[in-house]
Structures are given as C-alpha cells and as structure tokens.
C-alpha cells in the first residue's frame, strides 16, 4: 500500500493540465476502502458561491493507479 505522501504526489501529477489547484490551499487525504481520496480544497471568501474543491483525485491505495478525477461543483 502506498503512503499518504505518495498518494498526494500522484494526485498532483494527475491533475496537471486538467485542473489548477488553488495556490496555498490545503490538501486533504482520506483512505476509504483501500482508496486514497486526495482533495485539493478550494478556499472561498465568505458569500462566494463556488466549488468546494479544485480537484478530487481517487487513487488505488495498493497499486497507486488514478481511478477518477473530479472538478468541484461549479
């Protein structure tokens, strides 16, 4: 099983050219059912309507394969 740090690195590489994460925004990881879900959080000013994250990457925790990439709801 890959480490959390590796999962984040894989996620960063996976979104290049597809989604631009918000600069300095936090990155959250969760391990659910042998899958890492790496979320590039989007921080919005109060009152702003927009997506909750710039990108969310699902990674197989064993193989490190990227299973899915989603943008936020916008």
């Amino acid at each position: 099983m890959i480490s959390e740090e590796v999962a984040v690195q894989i996620a960063k590489e996976a979104i290049v050219g597809k989604l631009t994460p918000q600069k300095d925004a936090p990155i959250e990881t969760a391990l659910i059912d042998d899958q890492y879900i790496v979320t590039f959080v989007m921080v919005l000013p109060p009152g702003t309507r927009g997506p909750d994250f710039s990108a969310q990457v699902t990674i197989d925790a064993d193989s490190g394969d990227v299973l899915d990439i989603l943008a936020g709801a916008d």
């Binding site: 109060p46 702003t48 909750d52 943008a71």
Partner: protein, 357 residues
C-alpha cells in the same frame, strides 16, 4: 404662636439663618422647630424638630400621641416647616400596565389628548410639584405595530408553514398582542377614584416567505433564460456562471429580479465562482428572498464534476438568509456529470436552501 416665631427669630438669628437655608435645601425639608415644651429640655426651650426626634418621640410617647400633638397644634411652629410648600407625595404610580391613584386624588382626565412633550418638559414638571402633570401624554403603545420577519416567528409556526410548503403563507394569521392602554374616569369629588384597564388591540403582522417550490414556479422563465445564457457563453476554452437575487413583495405577492451578476470567465481548468452583489436590503414590503446562479458545462472540460449545489453554495445562502436556487445538469451517474457532457443535456433546478427565515 406667631409671637413665638417672632421671638425666636429675633433671639436666635442662627436658627433663622438655618431655616432660610432649609428653604433652599430640599434635603433638609424634614427639619422644623418645636414650640416651647414640646419635648424640649435644658436651657433651650425650643429645639429643632427633625425626623429623628419625631421618631424619638414616637418611640417614647407613641405614634398616636405624636399624631394627636401635631393635629392639635396646627401652627407651623409645631409642625415641621418644610421648605417645599408641597411635599413630594406620590399621587399616582404605575405598576406594569396599571396606573394606581391615591384615593381621593382627582383631576386626571384620561380623555386628555396627548401632547408633544420634549425633554425640557421634565424641568417644567418638576417646577410644578404638587400639581401633577396630568396633561403629560400617555405613550401610545397600543399603536405599536411590529412586523416580524419569518425568523422571528413564534414556535409552532413551522408546522403551519410546512403545511403550506411551496406556497407562501400569505394568509398567516395576524396575532393580536394585547397592548394595554389605561383608561378610566375619576370623579372630581375627591372621594372616589377608579382605574380600569381596557385592552386595546395592537397587531403583529407575520410574514412567511415563499419556499423554494413557490419561487421556482414564479421565476422559472427567468431561471431558464439565465441557464440558456450560461450555455451560450460557454466556449471551447472558457465558461462562466451568472445569477441574481430574487425579491418578493409581501403585499402584491409579486416576484422580481435584482442584482444581476455575470461571474468572471474562467478557463476549463479553473473552478468557476460567482459573487452576487451585496444582498439588497429589505425595503417596505419588498424582501430579498432568494439567490439564483448557474453552474457551468463540462462539454469542453477534461474532467467531470458533481452536480447540484456545493457546500459553499449552501453556506452562502445560509449566511445571506435566503432560499437558494441553482441551475445545473441532471446527473449522469453517481451524482456526477462526466467530462465532455453534451452542452444541451438535460438540466434542472436544485435547491441549496428552501426558504428565507
């Protein structure tokens, strides 16, 4: 007895001076002189009568005896010579909504029309001690009318509101809050006073704001127009959101659009956001009740996304205390639409918040 006074004044100018001081000193209004023999001892046949020595007399010879002495000797010499011609004795007082009058007091005319009273009148009122300011206006609290926003609704209203889901509760009951106005008559005979508390009716008008379904029903064409405009603004490399505030007139029940906003255009890799202008303040019967904005197509994007309101959308509507309406695609699978989702795919309205409260 007046001779006593004269003698005394002539013999003892200090006391005269003291009395003159009393005239100008409200704090000492309970000081006076006793006639000879009235509880006096020693060389000084007269002594200053004060509250304390009256109390002392009351303790030694009793209340009744002191009262009888004072009643029998109406001369000012035997009675405390008060500096104020009229003592400050309450003739009426208020307790909650009730007014109480001293038995026998008369002269208050409840039919007196209120007059404008300014701050300076306080001094004037003080200058007429003993003459109750019966013409002072009675605060007309009964006319106070509060219009409560839905957020101030009483408990229990939720059920009622729920029963009218999708329909503004236009016929919400107007509650009577019994403001009270004291009314009454007093006979001028000085022997009878009567207080009657009569309940006057005040009203609190309650406004229940339209729910999401009612807003959609009324504003559908405006929402559709903005969605179409959003699709039309989408290019191969860019897209953007747009939206507006929905206002509602509680009197005419009419809806209107205000604060239209076109969000900045973003490329396909960047999250699209929208900042509506500041929520318009309520004005009269017109309330800002909802926000509306569109989401953007993924037709030219490399990734898919969830559909419907985001957490930020929901949070913003909660902060703004408005219902929230979002125009977005119908989900394709698992709550998402994929990358390259056809531009004119089926879309729908989502609720990010049901109702302004």
């Amino acid at each position: 007895m007046s001779d006593h006074a004269t003698q005394h004044i002539n013999r003892n100018p200090d006391i005269v001076e003291a009395n003159l001081e009393q005239e100008n000193s409200p704090e000492q209004t309970n000081s006076a002189l006793f006639a000879p023999g009235f509880g006096a001892t020693g060389d000084n046949p007269r002594q200053r009568v004060t509250t304390s020595n009256i109390l002392s007399l009351q303790k030694t010879i009793g209340n009744r005896a002191v009262t009888r002495l004072l009643e029998k000797n109406q001369s000012s010499y035997l009675r405390p010579q008060l500096s104020h011609t009229v003592p400050l004795i309450s003739r009426a007082f208020a307790s909650g909504p009730d007014l109480f009058f001293k038995r026998g007091e008369a002269g208050f005319n409840f039919d007196t029309k209120p007059q404008t009273r300014t701050e300076g009148d306080e001094d004037e009122a003080a200058a007429t001690e003993g003459e109750g300011d019966w013409n002072a206006p009675i605060e007309d609290e009964a006319d106070t009318r509060a219009e409560l926003k839905a957020g101030q609704r009483a408990e229990g209203d939720e059920d009622e509101a729920a029963a009218t889901e999708g329909e503004g509760d236009w016929n919400a009951p107007i509650e009577d809050e019994a403001d009270t106005r004291a009314e009454g008559t007093l006979e001028n005979s000085g022997r009878k006073s009567e207080i009657r508390r009569v309940s006057a009716t005040g009203t609190i008008q309650r406004v229940t704001f339209p729910r999401y379904a009612a807003i959609v029903a009324a504003m559908r064409s405006d929402f559709d127009a903005d969605w179409q405009a959003t699709l039309a603004a989408t290019t191969k490399t860019s897209r953007r959101e747009q939206g507006f505030w929905v206002q509602w007139d509680s009197s005419s029940k009419a809806y209107s659009v205000t604060g239209r906003a076109i969000a900045p255009t973003v490329d396909n890799a960047t999250g699209a956001t929208i900042n509506l202008p500041n929520k318009p303040a309520d004005a009269g019967n017109v309330y800002t009740i909802a926000s509306f904005h569109t989401h953007t197509p993924t037709a030219n994007r490399a990734v898919g996304r969830p559909v419907g309101p985001s957490g930020a959308d929901i949070s913003a509507d909660a902060t703004d205390n408005v219902a929230g309406v979002v125009y977005d695609y119908v989900e394709a699978k698992g709550g998402n639409i994929p990358a390259g989702h056809p531009l004119n795919s089926r879309a729908q309205l989502y609720s990010s918040r049901d109702q302004r409260t």
